[in-house]
Symmetry: C2
Subunit: 384 residues, 2 copies
């Protein structure tokens, strides 16, 4: 882990800049607001076939094409494409880098600006203001309007993307015909906050973090960010998946020698940590995990989640995975119950999988069939 | 977390020194072997009333008296004492600091010695050899013999203490009349190894660890050790206990301001981290977590756990806690099934508790009653 890590390469992302900026929940206005995004498929003449996909904590807008930093396939190439569940032959798919992210949208890595939008010649770094899931959704709404779309056919997202989908339906019900929150919850639990705090503590403890000013010192808190990724990655998998994939196998040895033995699961985790630092920014990680921790849709509505959706015209598809212990099925049931209380049109499915939280990113045919069916039904209803 | 942390204070522990040393599983002989220990109650004339309690990863020998570094009550004062489940009016209770520990037994903090047992004027540090749970048990066996005890009435332990209890029964069946492995498993799972590896990575990443030679530099890897404790601590609790104790409450504020907000669960975790560094040694943490990871009693017996206990004369009491996800009930069931296959006398109970793995340390009357009953039954059978 002591190798030299260069700063993240610059990428010429596709962006739109809103010079009037965005007022955040914390009271600060970011001027201008920049949103980096990608689209797939073609917007129809009625502008009625747009599907917004919201990405998770460490995701990005490159959901169905090569990720420019890693050179790896997009994170949802199994789901988004011609003939796939989110069918780009039929739908116009939009995905934006979240506010606070590190792939081109306004965030800690972008140039800091003053209240008049003048560049200050340095990145925001740790001075980037606190943001919320609602702020992320507000920024996406600006993009959607910019693209000339009044109502989205659907908003779809897993994990933190599901939080955004729920927030979209709560904040802009008339702009969301269908909503698919997947492997998510209407609030972040105490345990989830605790795991995030471990990751943040590891970043804060890295002397190369430099109190957030590593950009100034030409350093990167690689080891702290790596530890943060390692602990998070455990929560993305299930115990049974870890046992199935690794068990107690040793890396490069057949029997314990009690000397330099390394278990395969350790080697895998270290690899996860060391590759993550080549594609993610530590201050973005701090900013976005914080936004997730803040998320509590019921609290925003007097403690009753159903009030977030009262009289909603949106139809919902709620999905969870049986072995997901980060966003367990009980959380999806709670969302479904609240939607039922709000007399919303909602279907809920718990999908059997031993792959844990990560299942929403993996090859899960039953999930893909259910999501595809929901979207086809919505498209048929709208006449797309 | 940037406060100055002194090195751990020296304590004049009660110890026994075996000048002939101990040959370890890794092939190295530690000379001499030092075992620090405490006893409670009185050994009877027949030397038949001795109960050995084995402590967990970060426990110590001060189970029923004030811990000398923290000034806090012993970790099992609710269980060990006059009239308590491990009744010191009836039993002679022994507890030894594990080999590799940092409370006086041979371990990374103690003076390094050469093959002839000559002190080298520096601590072992990272040069302390790899140890196993079996090595810990071998060291305890020397202590028990030193105390003139041929057969223990019982060996009792939770978590890593339960691993030692199982190893005792497997290695020295004639020396263990009764065995109570609690909240434990016969091997460390892939997920548990993964969590340990996160803690070790955090320690390794701390520049104050100095490649293990922090003792030489007058430094302590306080931040790395603190992060290791934080992540471990989450695994000791259940999600429901975290929700019940902290939920989404804020520390020192009533409503989110999105500025300097800290959730109560974060404040609690940070406190756990910052107090731990005042009582535990980082190199000991590395050594002992490794020993736990190595533990696999079935693998030591050709893959069949029942072969570890074939023909055993020992009676067993296996206990798990319903909300323990670090050592889930399934692991205790597997131990019980193996004991049944070995035709051992065994009772198993899953105790209802929402307190997670830590329940074995807490006020759990049903557990205390069951353990007390098991020990009384054993004592009656032996005629103590």
């Amino acid at each position: 882990m002591n190798e030299v890590v260069p700063s993240l390469p610059e990428v010429d992302h596709q962006r739109v800049v809103f010079s009037d900026g965005l007022m955040l929940d914390c009271g600060v206005t970011i001027t201008p607001l920049t949103v980096a995004y990608r689209t797939y498929g073609t917007l129809n003449a009625a502008r009625s076939n747009a599907v917004l996909v919201c990405h998770a904590l460490t995701g990005d807008q490159y959901l169905a094409e090569t990720q420019p930093l890693t050179g790896k396939p997009g994170w949802w190439e199994k789901v988004v494409g011609p003939g796939l569940p989110i069918d780009t032959d039929r739908f116009f798919v939009i995905c934006a880098n979240v506010l606070g992210g590190c792939m081109g949208s306004s965030g800690p890595r972008e140039e800091m600006t003053d209240a008049e939008g003048r560049g200050l010649g340095r990145p925001w770094g740790i001075d980037f203001p606190s943001i919320t899931i609602r702020d992320m959704v507000r920024a996406q709404k600006r993009l959607v309007e910019h693209l000339g779309i009044e109502r989205l056919l659907a908003v779809v997202g897993g994990s933190m993307g599901g939080m955004q989908a729920l927030q979209w339906a709560a904040t802009y019900p008339e702009a969301v015909f269908a909503c698919a929150p997947i492997a998510t919850a209407a609030h972040h639990s105490a345990q989830n906050i605790a795991f995030h705090e471990v990751g943040r503590a590891a970043i804060h403890a890295d002397p190369d973090w430099c109190g957030g000013a590593y950009w100034k010192e030409g350093r990167l808190p690689a080891q702290g960010l790596s530890v943060a990724r390692m602990v998070a990655h455990i929560t993305y998998l299930s115990e049974s998946a870890l046992t199935r994939k690794f068990g107690r196998r040793l890396q490069g040895a057949k029997a314990l020698t009690f000397l330099e033995d390394v278990f395969a699961v350790e080697s895998y985790l270290r690899h996860q940590g060391s590759t993550f630092i080549r594609r993610f920014d530590a201050n973005s990680y701090l900013t976005i995990t914080r936004a997730m921790d803040y998320f509590d849709l019921a609290a925003d509505h007097g403690g009753d989640l159903s009030l977030a959706f009262q009289g909603t015209p949106t139809r919902f598809f709620v999905a969870s995975f049986s072995s997901d212990w980060l966003f367990p099925t009980a959380e999806s049931r709670a969302v479904t119950r609240a939607l039922n209380r709000a007399a919303a049109r909602v279907s809920f499915v718990e999908l059997n999988s031993d792959k844990g939280h990560d299942a929403f990113l993996l090859d899960e045919p039953e999930f893909h069939a259910a999501l595809g069916g929901f979207l086809r039904g919505a498209a048929d209803a709208v006449g797309v």
